[in-house]
């Protein structure tokens, strides 16, 4: 909230012209719309059909019940008896990945839903939250609080309340996107509104953010971190701004270890900001390091004493040696894999993955592949989306070209944001390659969703490129297209689970 709140009047800040200070109402309305949108998604997506939702919801349940963090068990004895009964009652394992099957919607299964409270099944199990077991706890802390508050309710009512919290995080994320755009494009309220709405109503964002999944936490922390970085680079290094950056990086790492990939970008931003400040440089950098290190140190001590957890869990996925039966790790192949993950394969490269990943994996799945990747739009909707995105991107590129002289002054910012995006992309490719070596498949389009604030710059710049007369028209067009994709994705969701 401190980050997104406009500066108090009377305090002069560089690069913060007066008009945007009158926009807190718009920012809150945009956030409200994104919250309501994610909440609406959460009403119709069948329970646990946001990817990995059972693991994340059980993590919160176990944390709420015991105060301990889950641990992977040797025999994959996932979840607890009550949780397993709930999944079984809804035929969960028959429905995920099987678009022709439906959750149980008859009266018999409705009665089964009440079984947990009537028979008092065990809610703890052995503490194995499946794929979420090794996640850090920050996202689950408030979710566990919701679980505790709703302890006496039916299991699905508890999940519904956890989804309300998830929707609130989606709203906060969108608020940060709005503030981020406001920081980068001063004087363009329409552009901030359109960019933030395009992000907050984006169908995949609405779908993922509607469920219990620590991706929702990462979306928020990443958006807040990008905002904090923008403020640091635009307004200059102060202990407070530097501390915000450090604390948000730590919060990201404590939400999803993947956020470690943001560290180089944060380091670069601090160095660039420090270079411009003649004095107080050390105080600023110390504030950043302190604010980042303190929560990690506390978690590290708790992990070593009470929680029995390493500070950086999951890192072993990347650093571990080859497992039995796996292909050997080759650096040249890893580099080739990284390239092909995001760019079309070059003629001299061995074909390591099917199709053209930038389109078939990232673009299509970011436009919309829902459920446990088991339903999406009809085939024609994706090339149509590509055409629309290219038109909007061309508008944004035109604006950048026309203002290329000003871009040079922003080279530092651009480098920081590019490094942050690159860090995340490399982190995904490193894990993907390790998974590929063992015959698995890791990558999903949603893993790039934390970069949504950067993507929101594209529609915002496109609106800015239009003449004052046509800018509202362009803005309405972009928002209507986003809404159309969102509405039809939700109709597909109703048909998928209940039709």
């Amino acid at each position: 909230v401190t980050l997104v709140a406009p500066a108090r009047s009377g305090r002069t800040e560089p690069d913060s012209p007066a008009p945007w200070r009158r926009r807190p109402g718009t920012a809150l309305l945009v956030a409200l719309l994104a919250t309501v949108n994610a909440f609406a998604w959460g009403l119709i997506v069948a329970p646990f059909h946001v990817p990995d939702e059972p693991s994340h919801a059980f993590y919160a349940q176990y944390f709420g019940e015991t105060g301990k963090l889950p641990k992977a068990s040797a025999n994959s004895n996932w979840y607890s008896p009550d949780f397993t009964a709930m999944l079984s009652d809804s035929a969960f394992y028959y429905v995920i990945g099987q678009p022709q099957n439906r959750p149980q919607w008859d009266a018999t299964s409705a009665r089964a839903h009440t079984r947990e409270t009537s028979t008092k099944l065990n809610r703890v199990g052995v503490g194995d939250a499946s794929s979420a077991s090794t996640n850090p706890p920050l996202y689950y802390l408030p979710q566990a609080a919701v679980y505790r508050a709703a302890h006496g309710l039916q299991p699905l009512s508890r999940l519904a309340l956890m989804r309300v919290l998830a929707a609130l995080l989606a709203g906060l994320t969108t608020l940060c996107v709005f503030a981020f755009l406001r920081e980068l494009l001063p004087g363009s309220p329409l552009a901030w509104t359109v960019g933030a709405l395009a992000a907050g109503l984006q169908p995949m964002f609405g779908f993922i953010a509607s469920g219990v999944n620590n991706d929702g936490g990462l979306f928020l922390v990443t958006a807040a971190l990008l905002l904090a970085l923008a403020r640091l680079l635009r307004r200059g290094l102060t202990p407070r701004r530097a501390a915000a950056v450090g604390a948000l990086l730590a919060a990201g790492i404590l939400t999803k270890t993947q956020a470690l990939a943001y560290t180089p970008a944060v380091g670069l931003a601090l160095l660039l900001a420090a270079r411009k400040v003649p004095s107080g440089r050390l105080r600023g950098l110390a504030a950043a390091v302190g604010a980042g290190a303190l929560p990690l140190a506390v978690y590290g001590v708790l992990g070593a004493t009470v929680l029995d957890r390493p500070l950086f869990d999951r890192v072993n996925v990347v650093t571990a040696g080859a497992t039995a039966g796996a292909r050997p790790f080759l650096l040249s192949e890893q580099i080739s894999y990284l390239w092909q993950e995001y760019l079309p394969r070059l003629p001299f490269m061995t074909d390591l993955m099917p199709g053209v990943q930038p389109y078939h994996l990232w673009f299509k799945q970011l436009v919309g592949r829902f459920g446990w990747l088991d339903y999406g739009y009809p085939g024609w909707a994706y090339p149509l989306a590509l055409g629309i995105v290219l038109i909007v991107a061309a508008g944004a590129a035109t604006h950048l070209w026309n203002h290329r002289a000003g871009l040079r002054a922003r080279a530092g910012e651009i480098a920081v944001f590019a490094l942050l995006a690159l860090g995340l992309m490399v982190a995904i490719a490193l894990v993907s390659y390790r998974s590929w070596l063992t015959g698995g498949s890791f990558e999903q389009g949603r893993y790039l969703l934390p970069l949504l604030p950067l993507a929101a710059l594209v529609p915002a710049l496109a609106v800015r490129a239009a003449s004052p007369r046509f800018a509202p028209l362009a803005g309405v067009g972009i928002v209507l297209v986003t809404l159309s994709y969102s509405v039809f994705a939700q109709l597909l969701t109703v048909a998928r689970f209940y039709g």
Partner: protein, 208 residues
Amino acid sequence: VAVLGLLGLVVAVGIVGSGSRVHLQGTNDLRPFGFDVTIPAGKTACQPYENVPSGTGGVRVRAGTFGKPGPRVALSLEPAGSSPVRGGLAPGWREGDVTIPVTEVQGDRLGVRVCLTNHGPGQIALAGEPFAANFAARVGAQPEPGRARLEYMRPHADSWWGLLGTLADRVGTVRGALPGAATLYLWALLGLGVAGGAVALVLREGRE
């Protein structure tokens, strides 16, 4: 333009929702992984332990006829302790996803034995999943490699609008939380609010 755009979106939703088809009433949750049940001409395959939902008016199967026109088939749903529900198909149907109409089932029926008789000529293969012999479908006394996927269909085609009440009940049951059967209507209301609010907000910012 904004109003026209919003109206266009509403009209598009209206048109999509008015499309009519025969909807699912339930399934036995099996997946059509392979053709695990084969019924020779003149034989009957029976599959026990089926739960048939109330309002079923047909059973859809994925049936192969080895390229030939489908033979006459008879279907019976045999609940324990009550009279069977019958249906069938005249010869000449084409292989693929085939719905065999039956008399509409009144009330949920649990533990039903579903039997399909192939009156020939030619054999039929039904898609499903492999199962242990004690749960597999049987032709006579002989267990087949698995069970067939059965989809219980509504007796007639409905538009999505016509199905609205049923959809609302289903959403309420599956969600298992407040506001129950009103969930779908709340969702629609919120969706309208988001769409209208987003466009109104852009217009407001565009005017200033």
